[in-house]
């Protein structure tokens, strides 16, 4: 029983390959949700309308303080009790998107708050509207320092997709579990899953850093 079986590895590889596509879709989809929702959370906390600010703040705090796994279960299993029936994919993307939106909103917020007050004042002095000020002045300056954090969460969300296996999303972890259960062998499937994650995470992290530098250069923030 002990010992690596290459033929078994080769046999399960196509199945793991397909599951990898699902993992990438889950990560990409969840990330897209998180990027947009996170910006909404961040901007909502900056409106002059107090109740909205307070509620958003509390929601973000709540999401950040409870486990992702619980949130996945909650949306998938508790939802139907209130008439909200979601497929594993929809529930999964919602949960993971919402979870990472909370974290990303903090990264955005940090970036926006890092833009000096003088920039807002100069924007007002040339009479830019609030929307123009965000779009033309604040976001372009808030983004580069936030990019490292934003990119790290891309890798983070990717590594958290295995949690979706608990509600039956057929991603990598789910596939590896099934293979293991069918063949009573876990060494190869789990090892391969680990290697696939590594093979995607490392280049992604590297690309994120490259992208950050490129953006900074394009905006003239580094020489």
């Amino acid at each position: 029983m002990i010992g690596w079986k290459w033929d078994f590895t080769a046999e399960i590889l196509p199945r793991l390959g397909l599951a990898t596509l699902n993992t990438l879709m889950a990560a990409g989809g969840g990330y897209a949700v998180a990027l947009v929702l996170g910006l909404i959370f961040a901007l909502a906390q900056r409106t002059p309308f107090r109740p909205l600010t307070v509620v958003t703040r509390e929601v973000v705090e709540f999401i950040r303080s409870t486990p992702l796994l619980l949130q996945i279960f909650f949306i998938y299993y508790v939802g139907p009790q209130f008439g909200i029936r979601l497929s594993p994919w929809t529930a999964g993307l919602m949960a993971i998107g919402l979870h990472y939106a909370a974290y990303l909103s903090e990264v955005y917020r940090g970036g926006i708050e890092g833009v000096p007050k003088g920039q807002w004042e100069a924007a007002r002095a040339i009479n830019l509207s609030t929307v123009q000020t965000y779009r033309r002045i604040v976001i372009p300056q808030a983004l580069p320092p936030a990019l490292a954090g934003i990119g790290n969460y891309l890798v983070g969300i990717f590594k958290d997709t295995p949690m979706l296996s608990v509600i039956g999303v057929a991603e990598l972890m789910h596939a590896a579990n099934s293979i293991g259960a069918e063949h009573y062998r876990y060494l190869e499937p789990y090892t391969m899953v680990g290697l696939i994650f590594l093979a995607i995470s490392l280049p992604t992290a590297w690309l994120v850093r490259r992208f950050e530098t490129a953006v900074r250069r394009k905006l003239g923030l580094i020489k």
Binding site: A125, R136, G220, L221
Partner: protein, 272 residues
């Protein structure tokens, strides 16, 4: 705030109407009164300099006029119309965002720390407002921006980002950026305070040229008494949130009447 709004006129009319009027303006931060019932008129084309110790409310005057600060009572008028208020059914009410935005277009401001947009070139900084706010075409805005950069001696550096420019150069670009919006009133808030001594004259030279060649109304807060004396039509000495004494530069610097003015000026002269 019990402020009887009926005592403030809806508009300022007549040939002698000032370009800027502060009428009974009070500004507080919590318990601290920064400006106490300030009355100040600045005539069209006049250059008025505000001097005084720190914390006397000098900068606040400019910031209120740029609508960077709200006021607690009183009314500020610009170019005959209320800035902080607007007319509704024959009486003045607090200005809404649209009114302030319209009025703000009459005012330009330069800051102590320049506040250029770091992600834009010198030219981009000067085109941003004209293109985004005034709706000028890029070509037209660029021509105008280049003219102004040339005027402040920065045309050669048009494609440089602020990080590549010295403080004096950045401030000159900032002046061009403000002028590109064609304001009627220019505000200079300690524009030379953050500069190395050897480049101060670059900036004062530009302001001097503006005073000589353009009919702009200007308000300047400065610690440079020599420059204030040379360039101002009128100098106001602020103390503790109000104008302690004002007059022509000769009157204020050569024969100040108030004791506080004398103390301040002798302290400043000693420091120099």
């Amino acid at each position: 705030m019990t402020d009887d709004m009926s005592r403030y006129p809806l508009t300022l009319e007549g040939d002698d109407a000032p370009m800027v009027r502060f009428q009974n303006v009070t500004k507080k931060y919590g318990d601290l009164t920064v400006l106490d019932r300030l009355d100040l008129d600045v005539g069209a084309g006049e250059m008025v300099t505000i001097i005084g110790p720190s914390g006397s409310g000098k900068t606040t005057v400019l910031r209120m006029l740029m609508t960077l600060e709200t006021i607690d009572s009183g009314v500020i008028y610009v170019d005959g119309e209320p800035l902080t208020h607007m007319e509704r059914n024959g009486r003045l009410v607090r200005a809404n965002a649209a009114h302030m935005r319209r009025m703000r277009s009459k005012i330009g401001m330069c800051f102590q720390h320049f506040n250029l947009f770091p992600h834009m070139t010198a030219l981009g900084n000067c085109m941003e407002g004209p293109v985004q706010v005034l709706g000028m075409s890029k070509k037209e805005a660029e021509e105008r921006a280049l003219e102004l950069l040339d005027m402040v001696g920065m045309a050669e550096k048009r494609d440089q980002h602020p990080a590549r420019l010295s403080g004096g150069q950045q401030q000159r670009v900032a002046i061009a950026r403000a002028l590109a919006m064609r304001p009627k009133v220019m505000l200079f808030d300690e524009v030379t305070s953050a500069l190395d001594p050897e480049v101060i004259s670059e900036v004062t030279g530009v302001i001097r040229a503006l005073v000589d060649q353009h009919n702009l109304t200007m308000l300047m807060v400065t610690h440079q008494m020599g420059f204030a004396r040379e360039i101002s039509d009128r100098v106001c000495f602020f103390f503790d949130g109000s104008i302690e004494e004002q007059g022509t530069p000769e009157m204020l610097f050569d024969s100040p009447e108030k004791e506080r003015t004398q103390q301040f000026l002798s302290a400043v002269l000693e420091a120099n």
